[in-house]
Amino acid sequence: MKLWLDEVPPVLKGLGEFLPPSVTVLADIDEKKVTAELLVKHLGRKWTPVQTMTGDVLFRNRSTRRKQYEWMDQTFKDVPAEADCRCVPWDERF
């Protein structure tokens, strides 16, 4: 499965290329931090966060949603380094 971080940038880049310069971009995003970083980095133009009725339905429980923990909305950039474990054969360990 493609990660969100891998999948969205090509689409945003494609959008950014074809969008006219005067267009107003409004974004209704869940998990704001991760997706917002992608928008800033790959769309290449200013955008405004909004709350849409469609987003309310899609995210379903947004208005009554329970509080969100910070770790849910992070990219965890240091995870690959921390998770870098090399497999050492049993015999070579001693």
Binding site: A27, D28, E31, T54, Q68, D73
Partner: protein, 277 residues
């Protein structure tokens, strides 16, 4: 202002056939811009003589009248047939919005998880739970307070009585048709689902090229589905939309929901299966 103007006091002006003659001089073909201002610039003396009282009104007022009769400022789903019906079933639930079965969605959030025991369901051990609760982000306030509410309404929140008026106006005269089409396609939002299922084909089959080029507001809707990701290309906007629709836009709405979102906020069940976390 409209109520005092004699030309707009009766409904007959709107719905009777106009004496406007469809000469090529008076009705220049619409280009990619498709704006109605061309009509008023073409041969003004002759136009004024032959126009009905309705067309002697300023364009701005005519457009206001059209806006009272046809939808303006609403979000329509491109899957609708007919286009401006405003089907409740296409926006009532996330499943319907994205044309997916119920099995592709997580269970709805349970507010009772806020009570004692929610940490357990999130799989947090005792040591972590305290530090995590310190790091709670008050996103609820962000959404309800800081976020600007979009002025565009889902079409389903209003009565579904537009089609007769739209049909009447579109068949009244060519000039009214052109002006009404600009309102219909230029002042409403069209919602497209970004998915392997072909939204572009639906646009191509439902709208002619000239109508598609009048679209000024587009909403792209995307949610990543883990279950289909192994064998289907997920995130793509079709070439037709990129080439025919996007270059003419004035507003683009992006609505997207990464897989970590609701799955993480609901229970620990979904998080155990997702490789993204």
């Amino acid at each position: 202002m409209l109520a005092h103007h004699p030309a707009v006091s009766g409904d007959s002006i709107l719905f009777t056939a106009s004496p406007y003659r469809h000469s090529s001089n008076l009705l220049p073909s619409l280009g990619a811009e498709g704006h109605v201002a061309h009509h008023d610039r073409a041969n003004p003396a002759r136009t004024a003589r032959e126009q009905s009282p309705f067309f002697r009104l300023p364009e701005k007022i005519r457009l206001e009248i059209y806006r009272l009769c046809v939808p303006s400022g609403f979000v329509f789903d491109v899957r609708e047939h007919n286009t401006f019906r405003g089907l409740a079933r296409l926006s009532a639930t996330p499943q319907a919005l994205l044309n997916r079965s119920r099995g592709h969605f997580e269970q709805p959030s349970d507010d009772s998880l806020d009570d004692v025991g929610s940490d357990y369901e999130f799989g947090l051990d005792e040591d972590n739970s305290e530090s995590e609760s310190d790091g709670v982000a008050d996103d609820e306030d962000d959404y309800s307070g800081a976020l600007q509410k979009n002025r565009w309404l889902n079409a389903t929140v209003r009565r579904q009585g537009w089609l007769p008026e739209i049909r009447s106006l579109l068949t009244a005269s060519k000039r009214i048709r052109e002006e009404v089409l600009d309102v219909l396609y230029g002042e409403n939002v069209f919602r497209v689902i970004v998915s392997p299922q072909a939204s572009a084909k639906k646009i191509q089959s439902r709208f002619s090229k000239t109508k598609v080029r009048r679209i000024r507001h587009l909403m792209t809707l995307y949610k990543q589905f883990e279950t289909l990701a192994d064998y289907l290309p997920q995130c793509r906007i079709q070439t037709f939309i990129r080439q025919e629709v996007i270059p003419n836009l004035t507003t683009l709405h992006i609505v997207c929901d990464p897989p970590t979102g609701t799955a993480m906020t609901i229970t620990g069940r979904a998080s155990a299966t997702s490789p993204t976390r």
